[in-house]
Amino acid sequence: MIRFENVTKRLGRRNVLDGFDLKIKAGETFVICGPSGMGKSVTLKHMVRLLTPDSGRVMVGEDCVSEATGRELERIRARFGVLFQGGALLEWLTAGENVGLPLREHTDKGEDEIEKLAREKLRLVELEDAYDKHPSDLSGGMRKRVALARAIITEPEIVLYDEPTSGLDPITSRTIDELIDSLRKQLGITSVVVTHDLHSALAIGTRIAMLNFGKAVEVSAPEQFMKSSDPVVRGFLEAQYITRRGAWEKGLKL
C-alpha cells in the first residue's frame, strides 16, 4: 500500500532518513516507534508530501506521491486522513464545523447533510455533544477525538496518526487506541501510527517498526517485536516496564 524506496532526507546537517526502505500493507495498523528525532514524524510527513525526499521515492499504491504535483497530489492526498499531534483543529470554527470542513470545501453537499455526517462521525468518537463547542473549550483528548472525526469524514483508505496518545492520561489513551483499532476492524482502514507509547503500539499494531538513525532496525509483528534482541528495541521495552513475559504475551490485545 505504502512503500518507501531508498529514501534519504536531510534536515539541517543530519540525514534524518538514510536509504530508508519500508513496506506497509493494505488493511494493517502499522506502528512506527523510536527515540525522539529519529525520523518518525518525518516518515509520516513524506507519505502525504508535507516533506519531499532528497532521493528515493515514496509510493502509495501505484501513485508516486513524492513526485506528484497539482491535481495529482490532491487526488493522492484525498486517500489519506491525518490526525496531527495537537489535533490541528481550526480554533475559530466549532468542533462540528471543523469536522465538516473537508466536505464543505470539496463537495456540493448541502449544510444539512454536512451537519448530519459530521454529527455521525462525532458520535463515532463519542463526542456528539461537542458539536457546537470551540476547540478551546475541549480537553486534549477530546480535541484529538474531534480531529480523528475530521480525518475520517471523507472516508479515507489510509489514516495517519502522529503521536495520538501523547500527553493524554492512560484511560483516554486506551480509548483512542480502541478507536484506532475499531476503525481498522469496522471500516478496513489502513492505519499508520507514530508513537512512543509501546503499550499502545503492542495493543493496536499488526506490525511495529523501530526507527533509529534514519533506518528501520526492526520491523515485526508484536509477538516477535517483544522478543527482539535489538538493543534499541530492548531499551524501549524495558524503559516502559514491558518484559518478555509480560501481559501482552498472554493475549490481552484489544
Partner: protein, 252 residues
C-alpha cells in the same frame, strides 16, 4: 550581508507570488461558502480598530491645526489652516496614520494568528485536506483590508478635519464656517482620490506582509513573536516608502 539581501529578496518574491495567487481567487470571495469569513474579517479589520483610529485621527488633525496655525498666526494668515489641515489629511496623514494603526493592530494580529496556525500544524492539516491556505486564509484577509482601509481613511479624514476645526475655533479664532470655506477652496477631489488609492495599496501591503510573515513562521512561540514584530516593521517601512513614491507620481 549578501546572504541577507538574497533572503530578503526571496521573501519579497514569495510574498508577491502569494499576493498574485490570492488575486486569482478574488472571484471566489463572494461565493456563499466564503462570504461569512469575509464579513468576519471586515468586522475585525473595520469595527475593532475604530476606537483607536478615532483618537489618533482627531488628535492628528488637532496637532496639525495647532502647529500650522501658530506659525501662520505670526503672519496673520491663520485663517488658512482649513486648507493646510484638509490637504495634508486627505493626501498624506489620513491614509498614513490609518495604515500605521491597522498595521500595528490588525496586521500583527493576522501574523500571530497565521504563525500560530503554522506552528500548531493547522496549515499542514489544510494542505492535507487539499484546502489551499492562500484561498482559505489570505483571500478573506486581503480583500477585507483592501476594502476597509479606504473606508477607515475616509473616517480618519473626517475626524482629522473636524479636530482641526475644533482647534481653529477654540485656540486660533478661526470660525468653523471660515475653516470649512477655506478648506473647500483649495482641497481638490484629486487629493481625496490619491489618498484613498494610497489607503487601498497600504491595505494590500499590510495583508500580504502579515500573511507571508505568518506562513514563514518557525520555532514555536518565539517564531510567532518574531513574525509579529517583523510584520509591523516591514509594513511601517513599506508604507512610508510607497507613500512617498505615490505622492511623487501624482504630485509633480
Amino acid at each position: 550581508m549578501g546572504r541577507n539581501v538574497m533572503l530578503n529578496l526571496r521573501g519579497l518574491g514569495q510574498a508577491l507570488m502569494m499576493l498574485f495567487e490570492a488575486t486569482l481567487y478574488i472571484p471566489l470571495v463572494l461565493t456563499k461558502r466564503r462570504r461569512p469569513e469575509l464579513f468576519n474579517q471586515l468586522y475585525i479589520t473595520g469595527i475593532k480598530s475604530l476606537g483607536v483610529i478615532t483618537v489618533v485621527a482627531a488628535f492628528t488633525g488637532m496637532i496639525l491645526a495647532l502647529q500650522t496655525g501658530l506659525e501662520l498666526r505670526r503672519f496673520g494668515l491663520q485663517q488658512n489652516i482649513g486648507t493646510a489641515v484638509a490637504v495634508v489629511m486627505l493626501r498624506e496623514m489620513g491614509p498614513f496614520m490609518t495604515a500605521l494603526i491597522v498595521a500595528a493592530s490588525v496586521g500583527s494580529a493576522i501574523a500571530a494568528q497565521v504563525g500560530t496556525m503554522v506552528v500548531s500544524e493547522e496549515v499542514s492539516a489544510l494542505e492535507i485536506m487539499s484546502i489551499n491556505p492562500v484561498r482559505f486564509i489570505v483571500l478573506p484577509r486581503l480583500v477585507a483590508l483592501a476594502l476597509m482601509m479606504p473606508i477607515l481613511t475616509i473616517y480618519t479624514n473626517i475626524l482629522g478635519i473636524a479636530g482641526g476645526a475644533l482647534v481653529g475655533a477654540t485656540q486660533l479664532q478661526v470660525s468653523f464656517q471660515a475653516y470649512i470655506d477655506n478648506a473647500q477652496l483649495y482641497a481638490q477631489n484629486k487629493d481625496l482620490y490619491v489618498g484613498l488609492l494610497k489607503a487601498f495599496v497600504f491595505g494590500i501591503v499590510i495583508a500580504t506582509t502579515a500573511c507571508h510573515q505568518g506562513f514563514i513562521t518557525s520555532e514555536g512561540a518565539v517564531g510567532v513573536g518574531q513574525a509579529t514584530r517583523r510584520t509591523v516593521i516591514i509594513s511601517f517601512l513599506t508604507i512610508l516608502v510607497l507613500g512617498y513614491m505615490l505622492t511623487r507620481v501624482f504630485y509633480r
